[in-house]
Assembly symmetry: C2
Homo-oligomer: 357 residues x 2
């Protein structure tokens, strides 16, 4: 029997219910800016060894909660676990981004793909979710997550990050049938994966569409949005996931907020290139919003961090439905004390804006 | 006495006057995708040796005009010539982006900066403009260009490209006075530089704000837009430049098109993440629009390139004020034959859409 949730601000905000203050968590809150993370990462030997060891993944997931008054925990993992489980061989070279040993090079490579086994190759993720949930003991809710179908496809076809993603886009232009086959198996895998995380104990779900914003509008609709909608539909019909708030974050895709809100998700992540006032005006009656301070603000002095937090919370206004976050993951090199300043400033400003005038 | 211009489609379109078809040129049309460019680059020894040699810069500027029915030539140069002339020491390591040997590290570094001498350190640029103009012999107009104040500041403070530009943003947060001093001397330098290019023979001017789109809305207004407006004001009051159409291109800043149009420039460059129909609807009565096909479309097959060109030209409609271009520079590795397909498709579709129904 799981412990009762002591702090439900985050879940209430995602359901656009009133809260005593604005809840806050930070993308990559368990990460390289924390010395204790670097120590555990060192002990594990490699990023993948850390992510695939449920005890260590649990340890780093909980680290930032010891330091800061965070309102949610997020599973420590990577957005690329699904393609790794599909056999592509995920590695992280020192100082570089992710790389696949066996990227997709042909239609035949894609036809061979199948939804991975959640009790097999991906069991380590579910074990981590179960363990973290137990160790959290109801302090705050746990977020499960996945990369989006399009973003997974980008890495799977390119084999790694890219400046222009010319190879994956060329496949979309020249062989759309094969690209749709790839995105369909990925959408079914992502939904199955998030459902399994829900079953294992995740209390909210998030999909990171890191590269959706690189697409022209027509391509965004056909290759990114369509499969975010498929994932949403599958989850909203799923026994384990349907009650969990679902957040979609399509970075750089602010011109598509209305379409993203139209998928039926519960919240949208926002990068920092849009004001919260504008985003709320456009879609705030339909979805909660999560974001969106420029991560570089954490390099500013504490008084400026406080000023910018105040400005963001004022821009959103005293309405329900805001989860404070950065507009992208916290940058390695940030002083953890600055993160504390940010978290505390959010709660203070969130209380202030809810006070009767 | 300069030769009379034989093809003025490009200049007419930037003034939103009717043309027989849609004019087209391509960012980085003189570049690595062309074998003849790679041969000249090899001969020069380094990128900077090529850019600083007026004869070779002229040679590569004209190369794409021998292959394709382009409606404009653009000076072969780099966006970072101004900081190089200010003494920062621009280099290009093989396979990497630009790097400064002496990046700005303090307020004192910034106070020492002065507008460079257009007949001194930057004379090679004006010599190239004069020579290209003579060799063009009126075939098509010549575009002069510069990086924007904000984009120059990004490279000058970071010393090179960056994923997050945390250093330059930290300066903007923590020491805005120093950042404004830097942007002011850069705005005056950019305007002086473009005026000198106009005097030397450039027939249109363009400012590339490559990193403006990385800024949150408030920062964009304070640190990017404000100095694009200063450059525009200075040029519109300048003897040599005021008659030349001026195009501003702030990549990734589509949410700011109205504000950019409000600077008083003549045209806006567009990246590929907005439809031409939407952009024209929002600002097409005030400025010409230049763009905006996804550069990756050049990796598609010829029939798909033609289909996408048709779609873009149809989206803009039969109105004056469109210069076709990619939404970013042409990608190295593109087949030059595909560029020819694109150029010819633009002219064909541009004629078709102007035919009486």
């Amino acid at each position: 029997m799981p412990a009762e949730l002591k702090n439900d601000r985050f879940l209430r905000a995602l359901r656009r219910q009133p809260t005593d203050t604005t809840p806050v968590w930070i993308m990559r809150q368990a990460g390289r800016y924390l010395p204790e993370y670097r120590a555990t990462r060192e002990k594990a030997g490699s990023f993948m060894a850390l992510a695939q060891n449920p005890e260590l993944a649990c340890e780093v997931t909980l680290q930032p909660l010891e330091r800061f008054e965070l309102d949610a925990a997020i599973l420590f993992s990577d957005i690329l676990t699904i393609p790794d489980a599909m056999g592509l061989g995920l590695t992280f070279a020192a100082g570089e981004g992710p790389k696949f040993e066996r990227p997709l090079r042909s239609a035949a490579d894609i036809q061979r793909l199948a939804v991975p086994d959640m009790d097999g190759e991906l069991r380590y993720v579910m074990d981590a979710v179960r363990l973290i949930r137990r160790e959290l003991d109801g302090r705050v809710p746990l977020i499960g997550f996945s990369g989006s179908p399009w973003t997974l496809a980008c890495y799977m076809v390119e084999g790694q990050g890219s400046r222009d993603f010319a190879r994956v886009k060329a496949m979309a232009w020249n062989d759309p049938g094969t690209m749709h086959a790839l995105l369909d198996v990925l959408a079914r895998s992502v939904a199955r994966y998030l459902s399994a995380q829900a079953e294992a104990g995740a209390q909210a779900l998030m999909v990171f569409d890191t590269w959706g914003g690189l697409l022209a509008p027509g391509m965004f609709h056909d290759f990114s949005l369509r499969y975010l909608a498929q994932v949403t539909d599958l989850l909203k019909a799923d026994t384990h996931a349907r009650e969990l708030p679902l957040v979609l974050f399509s970075k750089g895709a602010n011109s598509h907020l209305e379409a993203l809100a139209g998928t039926g998700c519960d919240g949208l992540g926002l990068d920092w290139t849009i004001s919260l006032a504008e985003a709320r005006h456009r879609v705030g009656e339909r979805v909660a919003l999560q974001g969106n301070l420029d991560p570089s603000a954490l390099f500013a002095s504490p008084d400026i961090i406080q000023r910018e937090v105040d400005a963001a919370i004022t821009a959103f206004g005293p309405h329900p439905g805001h989860v404070f976050n950065l507009g992208h993951g916290v940058t390695p090199g940030v002083d953890p004390e600055h993160v504390k300043v940010l978290i505390d400033a959010v709660h203070a400003a969130g209380r202030r804006i809810r006070e009767p005038a």
